[in-house]
């Protein structure tokens, strides 16, 4: 009720304004179009509306501004048009301030300021230079008033400014903002802009917006053309609009009366729906792959210590955690160089975790070869010690490691698909680590020795391979990879003493699922589990998806103990 009465009041006050103003209201779309033209071509400034009754001789910026507070509402618009035509750098700020009701005049001298309310009164900004001019008590100032029509004019004018902004992203935002509540005036404005716009993304956004607007045209041919144009996009607004006009209302009638247009719209909507579905699946797949990459990264070190050496290292998660803390420490050392600190922490974490791994192998694991259950218990004890150690040194609280610039942001592929850079990098990084590991195992003499020892220890020893040394190095390699995984994880999640625990069960699951002793199995197993989890998530929720995946693996291991890619041959049969 209150709102309605106020509306009425405003309408009444408008009714009381001059006849000219009423005329202007009627012709305001035209005025907008002309205004737009005037802004595009500088010399068009003189071609102000014909009804312009010049109210004041002043043409300079400050002069125009000083007339503003005392001008009638009808004259204000003319003044503002002159202000725009002056091409003064501050014009946009003044318009913005006026629209936001931040433009005040000082009662004592009539000087106009852009203001900001603070506790002590108004903080003043000189509108010409946009420099601060101190803070004064609010009661010495009067607001420069506006009305509905003027505010509409202001919005259009500001949009116009932003459409002309040299920064394409500003223009893009402006287009989207204008399209949100487009009327014929903004449409005309955009049409004008389209003719001069060079940037393809902005052009496309304008085109789509105009086509959506065209769907409301009275001319069926125009609507059909717009439908055809829109059928090639993936835009969500376009889809909603097409869907709306091609779907029957409750009474069976259609918003779109022309059958041809309606059919085309239905087809276009279908096509957009189809492609959005495809891209949606691609996105889910990508999320799944990035989750899978995290699993693979966490598990791949284990694939070496458990898969190749047969050692159950329950402290594997803590080696990941140490890697993550290495990234944290590195960032504390180089707070000014985020990207460098992350890059440096990769080899550093490899060394830290790798050395701790070698120490674990030399001090504990080597005494327990052939006794996997005991190894499991001893290394679990070690994991508790490492956790507590980190708690004592760094505090039990989580730390966050900042991401460098190049890892934040989004890669926009089209309207329906955008990929965040940090996920993209994780996937790439995982593949890189995997390839590096494959090369080490397949192409280096160390790799040859590792494989020899894992296949037949006594034979390898007989051939002069120092199996003890190989054991230590292999364990160190697996541990070092865990550390590298920790650096990657530090970019996705908070770093805390319990970081490792969260990944240990998943890691074992991935290795066992993929097939012990098979790096490819780990890669494919991890990716499969990641994608499966993400596919399930929308249907059952994140926690339930995790449970389902766990139960699936439990059942899978029953069916195929050897995992996805079993090691074959007589040796694998065992006794």
């Amino acid at each position: 009720m209150r709102y309605a009465r106020r509306r009425f009041h405003v309408t009444a006050s408008v009714a009381r304004t001059t006849r000219w103003h009423r005329l202007f209201q009627i012709f305001s779309p035209l005025a907008f179009a002309l205004l737009a033209l005037s802004a595009v071509t500088a010399n068009a400034a003189e071609e102000a509306p014909a009804s312009n009754v010049a109210a004041a001789p002043a043409t300079d910026f400050v002069g125009i501004l000083s007339q503003l507070p005392n001008a009638g509402l009808s004259d204000k618009q003319q003044l503002l048009e002159q202000l725009i035509a002056s091409h003064h750098a501050s014009a946009q700020s003044v318009l913005k301030a006026l629209l936001d009701e931040h433009l005040y005049s000082r009662d004592s001298d009539g000087k106009v300021f852009i203001t900001e309310e603070v506790d002590t009164g108004l903080r003043l900004t000189d509108p010409e230079t946009l420099t601060t001019a101190g803070t004064e008590a609010a009661d010495g100032f009067s607001k420069v008033g506006t009305n509905n029509a003027l505010r509409k004019f202001l919005r259009g004018a500001i949009a116009q400014f932003r459409l002309d902004d040299p920064d394409r992203s500003v223009r893009l935002v402006a287009v989207h903002e204008m399209l949100r509540d487009a009327d014929s005036a903004t449409v005309d404005l955009l049409r004008v802009r389209l003719s001069s716009e060079k940037d393809s993304a902005v052009r496309k956004a304008i085109e789509i917006g105009l086509a959506i607007a065209d769907l409301d045209s009275d001319d069926a041919a125009t609507r059909l053309a717009a439908t055809t144009a829109l059928s090639q996009t993936l835009d969500g607004d376009a889809y909603n609009k097409l869907k709306a006009i091609s779907t029957a209302n409750a009474d069976g009638s259609y918003a779109e009366t022309d059958d041809g247009v309606r059919n085309a719209a239905a087809k276009a909507a279908q096509r957009i729906e189809f492609w959005r579905g495809i891209y949606g699946s691609v996105e889910t797949l990508f999320f799944g792959l990035s989750l899978g990459s995290v699993l693979v990264l966490a598990a791949i070190g284990l694939a070496i210590t458990f898969g190749v050496m047969g050692v159950i290292n329950m402290a594997h998660g803590e080696l990941i955690m140490l890697g993550a803390y290495t990234a944290y420490v590195m960032q504390q050392l180089l707070p000014e160089h985020l990207a460098l600190s992350i890059l440096l922490s990769i080899p550093a974490a490899f060394l830290v975790s790798g050395l701790v791994g070698v120490a674990i192998e030399r001090s504990i694991v080597r005494f327990l070869y052939g006794r996997p259950l005991e190894t499991l218990l001893a290394t679990f004890g070690l994991s508790l010690i490492l956790q507590q150690l980190v708690r004592s040194i760094f505090s039990p609280l989580n730390r966050s490691v900042a991401s460098p610039e190049f890892m934040s942001g989004t890669l926009v592929i089209n309207d329906a698909l955008s990929l965040t850079y940090n996920r993209l990098y994780i996937v790439l990084f995982t593949l890189l680590v995997f390839i590096a590991l494959q090369l080490i195992l397949k192409r280096t003499s160390l790799g040859l020795k590792v494989r020899a020892v894992s296949q037949n220890r006594s034979m390898a020893r007989a051939m002069g391979i120092r199996s003890e040394w190989v054991d230590a190095i292999t364990f160190g390699l697996g541990s070092g990879i865990a550390g590298v995984a920790g650096v990657a994880l530090s970019q996705l999640t908070n770093v805390g003493p319990n970081l490792g625990q969260a990944y240990i069960i998943d890691s074992f699951m991935v290795v066992v699922f993929g097939g012990v002793g098979n790096l490819w199995g780990t890669l494919i197993g991890g990716m499969t589990l990641g994608v499966a989890g993400k596919l399930l998530e929308p249907a059952v929720g994140a926690v339930m998806a995790k449970i389902v995946v766990l139960v699936f693996i439990i059942l899978f291991i029953q069916r195929r103990k050897q995992g996805l890619f079993p090691q074959k041959g007589r040796a694998a049969e065992g006794h």
């Binding site: 074959k568 041959g569 007589r570 049969e573």
Partner: protein, 278 residues
């Protein structure tokens, strides 16, 4: 089938009296009406492309003592794995008597219908006493509820004592089986086989690591078992094979190369070729 075996028993009295009945195992008995206890037909087993057994055919007669020889990798152990249910073949069939399809049974089921096996590497229960090892192997119901409340009766004790004597481990009866020497473990495993009282014994390299005297005793024991039992022995020791064998089967690359008496197979041209590279 007239397998007349010189069951001399010998001066050491190695003759083993089988009880001749299956002990409440509820397992079916094989139908031996055609005097063939084991049919192995067209068995092929491949590991990753390598054919460990290639269309193997083998028939064992009731009460027969058969020796199987062949170079390393000929498929001898794999054959035993197939018969005892450890390895499933790709193709082929294996029947115990006329009615029991071995390929459809699990290892314990095969053991319970009457096939016993001694492994190449002696496997005994190291933490149990010698006596307990024999008790566990004893032919008796092996169902959970029975075993939970089972207690040895006099007859069973006597039987264990008898076997202890045969395998010469009376003095070690309450000692840990893991503490036995290699040869003693071989004997204990043979003893466990005797306790099982199977119809068909599969014996993989029984005399490896034995002294000549022990080898002789083993030969006597196996010979005495034949007749009531059917025995299949895999062995590398040619003298041992010669001393016990009636029929010898030569395996080569997963296939039967020759079959016949020792002299026959030794003069077989293909066997000479394989063994001597002629």
């Amino acid at each position: 089938m007239s397998v007349s075996i010189n069951s001399g028993g010998g001066p050491i009295g190695l003759r083993f009296k089988p009880t001749g009945r299956r002990h409440s195992t509820n397992a079916p008995s094989p139908d031996l009406s055609h005097n063939i206890i084991l049919y192995v037909e067209g068995i092929t087993v491949s590991f990753d492309g390598f054919k460990a057994l290639n269309d193997l055919n083998l028939y064992i007669e009731t009460g027969e003592l058969r020796c199987i020889i062949g170079p390393n990798g000929a498929g001898k152990t794999t054959m035993m794995d197939v018969i005892t249910g450890k390895t499933r073949p790709d193709t082929g069939s294996a029947w115990f008597g006329q009615t029991i399809d071995l390929l459809g049974l699990t290892e314990p089921e095969i053991a319970q219908v009457g096939i016993g096996r001694k492994f190449q590497k002696p496997t005994v229960f190291a933490e149990h006493s010698v006596f307990e090892n024999l008790e566990l192997a004893m032919a008796d119901s092996k169902r959970v509820w029975h075993v939970l409340f089972a207690k040895l009766n006099g007859e069973q004790r006597d039987r264990i004592d008898e076997v202890l004597q045969i395998i010469g481990l009376q003095d070690a009866r309450s000692g840990r089986a893991g503490a036995l020497s290699h040869g003693q473990k071989q004997w204990l495993e043979i003893g466990m086989l005797l306790m099982q009282d199977p119809l068909l014994l599969l014996v993989d390299e029984p005399v490896a690591g034995m002294t000549p005297q022990e080898t002789e005793r083993t030969a006597e024991l196996l010979v005495s078992l034949a007749g009531k039992h059917s025995v299949v022995v895999v062995e590398h020791d040619m003298n041992f094979v010669r001393s016990i064998a009636r029929t010898v089967t030569v395996l080569h690359e997963g296939h039967v190369l020759a079959e016949g008496s020792m002299d026959e197979v030794q003069n077989h041209p293909r066997v000479k070729e394989v063994y001597l590279g002629e």
